[in-house]
């Protein structure tokens, strides 16, 4: 009798906790948002070594969410899941031996978001490996603009500008 009561209390507590935590977490929905064709440019002449190509991203997260009948208050998290870098002229990519991508803003701490080392040969576009830890990605997307930096290691000098584009895909987690 005593044992049955003990198990009943335990079961009761278990379901009560499940109910409480279940209510707090709720169900989530994951959506994909892409910033296409962010222009990244480094002005030439460029010397061998590290050169930074940079550009401005304008995420307009609120507008994008509105178009999906969602609000920014419902966003729980965001992370960069894919970054594709390409150039009109494939030789631009081939001039780079490795690249590291960061996000910067006057309002936020710089965040390293990806790296590619080495850059494969004979390709016109590359996919950067994205960081596991991305504590500020949502904060960057909430900014009207932020700077995308691509630190490119170049084995040789180059006379011309380095002109690249980036397609950045983000996973946005929302409360349902």
């Amino acid at each position: 009798m005593k044992k049955t009561l003990y198990f009943q209390v335990q079961f009761g507590l278990f379901f009560a906790l499940l109910f409480i935590f279940g209510g707090c977490v709720g169900e989530t929905e994951v959506m994909k948002m892409t910033l296409k064709g962010v222009t990244l440019e480094a002005e030439g002449p460029l010397f061998s070594g590290s050169n930074t190509a940079q550009g401005i991203a304008t995420p307009d997260l609120e507008g994008w969410l509105q178009s999906k009948n969602k609000t920014v208050q419902g966003v729980m998290d965001a992370r960069l899941v894919s970054a594709v870098i390409y150039a009109q002229d494939s030789s631009s990519i081939q001039a780079i031996s490795s690249m590291a991508m960061s996000f910067a803003s006057d309002m936020l701490e710089m965040q390293s978001v990806g790296v590619l080392n080495p850059v494969p040969e004979g390709v016109s576009s590359v996919v950067v490996s994205v960081a596991d830890k991305q504590k500020n990605t949502l904060a960057f997307l909430k900014q009207p603009v932020f700077t995308v930096l691509l630190d490119c290691d170049m084995p040789e000098d180059a006379e011309d500008n380095l002109l690249l584009s980036a397609d950045l895909e983000f996973e946005i987690t929302l409360k349902q």
Binding site: G49, S50, T52, Q54, S98, A100, S102, A104, S105, D106, E109, M110, S112, G114, V115, N117, S129, V130, A131, D132, K133, T147, L149, D151, C152, D153
Partner: protein
């Protein structure tokens, strides 16, 4: 109206002077151990420093260019050390000081709060600390002088 134009001119000149004062930090600097050279540049209104030269560019174990093998984020451990941004997010706070930034030590993968103080045009005191400034370590960095024409 004339006084207003004068006022605007004074504001403009003050802002210009403050910017020039802050930008004295730009350039290539060498820590006291001479193992690396760091180029400080400006992105937006903040200052960042990246490694542009290493005395030993290759890892003696692999023979390959050194990478950030101690990065706490495993996905970023292939980032080359040459080009790595080890100084981040410094803001000029006046009186020859740049604050609110961090310094990364690639030898242990740790990031510390950091303050930069310019002792003279060619010397910086870089103080890395955890929590409070008194619990930290200061290193003297020298500006790399360009020689010849």
């Amino acid at each position: 109206m004339k006084w207003f134009n004068t006022f605007l001119f004074v504001i403009f000149c003050t802002a210009l002077f403050a910017q020039a004062d802050a930008e004295r930090l730009l350039g290539v600097w060498e820590p006291s151990n001479g193992k690396a050279r760091v180029k400080i540049e400006k992105v937006g209104s903040k200052f960042y420093g990246k490694i542009v030269w290493l005395r030993e560019p290759n890892d003696p174990q692999t023979g390959q260019p050194k990478v950030d093998k101690n990065n706490p984020d495993q996905a970023l451990r292939t980032t080359p050390l040459k080009g790595f941004r080890m100084l981040k997010d410094f803001v000029y706070s006046g009186k020859n000081e740049w604050t609110e930034g961090t310094i990364y030590d690639p030898e242990n993968g740790s990031t510390y709060s950091c303050v930069i103080k310019m002792k003279d045009d060619n010397t910086l005191d870089i103080r890395g600390y955890i929590g409070v400034k008194t619990l930290g370590r200061t290193d003297e960095w020298k500006r790399l002088q360009m020689t010849g024409k």
